[in-house]
Amino acid sequence: MKMSETKPQEYWRWPEYRHTVPGKDWHNAKIITAGVDVGSVGSKAVVALDGELYSYSVMRTGGVSEATAVKVMNWALEETGLKLDNLQYVVGTGYGRVNVPFAKRTITEIACHARGAHYIYGPTVRTVLDIGGQDCKAIRCDEKGKVLSFLMNDKCAAGTGRGLEVFADLIGVPIQDLGKVSLSVQEEPPPVSNTCVIFAKAESLALLRQGWPKEKVAAAYHAAMADRIVDLLTRVGVEKDLVTTGGVAKNAGIIERVERLLGIKPLKPNIDPILAGALGAALFAKALYEKEVGLR
């Protein structure tokens, strides 16, 4: 995305991207499925070949979620040679009663995230922490990936991607660098006393005016958000292995502080954790397709 000189820098705007996993050929695949996760802030599409990640795309959810679903799916297919018709089953998921027009079924994002987390991190997963653009989910599951307990908080912006976007704008640091900046402090300052994003923003502004450097204010803000996230997690109970999904899972400033507070190290992902929902949906799509054609 090019930014003209006259346009003010938008620190909150994270980069959109697509990717095809090298070394795979869809012509050899028996079952080609897809999952589309339309979040309130970001939309994700995943194409899976025989239940394995093949290609994906991540973009900002536009005003009309149906249109975004089509866009993000097409972007994931781009450069692969695949067409929408080649997909044998598509499952939609995401925020609220989302509508993915070309999906055969919708499955709750809780179930998709648990399933996707199992793919990304393996069968030892017992606790999934998903921090998205506008919500925070804590999911406890068993060894089969079945949900035992869950909690979702999408009422309050604190600790969500939106809360971090607001802060990135305030201190003028691009959001993808925010976490790193917050970890560059020598000594961890106390967390800001407010978790409410509006009040925390005012408090941070006062700290900046008092002469606090950006890293220190970032650290204080991240510390408060991490505190809140741990509170939510503790409600469902934390059992090893703990894993993180969603866009904010990429913010090292949040994840490391959550680690410190819990005394548990979350597993490190090899796949972009923002894809967990769409990936889980694509895997459900495979299972549903197999059921349909009598393979199960």
Partner: protein
């Protein structure tokens, strides 16, 4: 006897000078980055207007979020600090002796108070630390609508239809307002939805202390004409808004200062 009350709020500092039970002077100013300076400057300019000096004032009580800032600190040198709920109850009682329920909505907090005999506090509930529960919400939405916060209320009164607002958080509501504007919903209808939302939140909290007449509304948000109609509907009750509602807390502090027994 002359006493004074100073209410150091989140957004405004208010001063009331009381002589023998009657308000001699009242003034308010925005709280700047330096809270002590804002409060002190306002206090000094106010007593200057009355021709009094600090020594002429027998006792000063401070209330509000920043009350400790002026506690024993010159030039205000407040002798005592009082909780907001106590100041609210006493101030409302001073103006309306039959008050039983006080609702105070300020910049950062909303409070519901059940008043006991002689303007004391029987029960209270506070809606705090969440911007959606106080005046900040209206202010933030005014920014999103790109209109002055003083005009929000009158705009809401011109609304012709009810639009539901789903977001319960100030940050999410700002995005929702932007979406509504793009969907060509009128600013009048959006403003009304905003006032309905906050009245619903405040009203629900007040129900926890019970609604008993006379119900009195005070605080900065009481100045907003768009807030009163939905609040009356929520509580299914008449509501009295005294003159200068944003000063009632400071007034209450001044009254409490005058009742102090050595």
């Amino acid at each position: 006897m002359i006493t004074a009350g100073i209410d150091v709020g989140a957004k405004f500092v208010k001063v009331v000078i009381l002589k023998d039970g009657k308000v001699l002077e009242r003034a308010k100013a925005l709280v700047g980055f330096d809270v002590l300076k804002s409060a002190s400057d306002l206090f000094e300019s106010t007593i200057k207007k009355t021709g009094l000096s600090r020594n002429d004032i027998k006792r000063i009580a401070a209330t509000g979020m920043g009350r400790e800032t002026v506690h024993g600190k010159p030039p205000v040198n407040a002798e005592e600090v009082i909780s907001e709920v106590m100041a609210d109850a006493k101030g409302a009682f001073h103006l309306i002796p039959n008050v039983k329920t006080v609702i105070d909505v300020g910049a950062e907090e909303g409070r519901g108070i059940k008043v006991g005999p002689n303007g004391t506090v029987r029960d209270f509930v506070i809606n705090e630390r969440c911007a959606a529960g106080a005046g900040t919400f209206v202010e933030a939405m005014a920014r999103a609508l790109e209109i002055k916060v003083e005009d929000m209320g009158s705009l809401a009164l011109k609304s012709t239809q009810i639009i539901p607002m789903n977001a319960q958080c100030c940050v999410f509501a700002e995005s929702e307002v932007v979406t509504l504007i793009h969907s060509k919903v009128s600013k009048e209808d959006i403003s009304r939805a905003i006032h309905d939302a906050i009245a619903s939140r405040i009203g629900s909290m007040v129900l926890r202390v019970g609604v008993e007449k006379d119900v009195v509304l005070i605080g900065g948000v009481a100045l907003n004409p768009g807030f009163l109609p939905p609040l009356k509907r929520e509580l299914n009750s008449d509501i009295i808004v005294p003159e200068y509602p944003e000063y009632v807390s400071a007034l209450g502090a001044a009254v409490i200062a005058s009742e102090h027994k050595e």
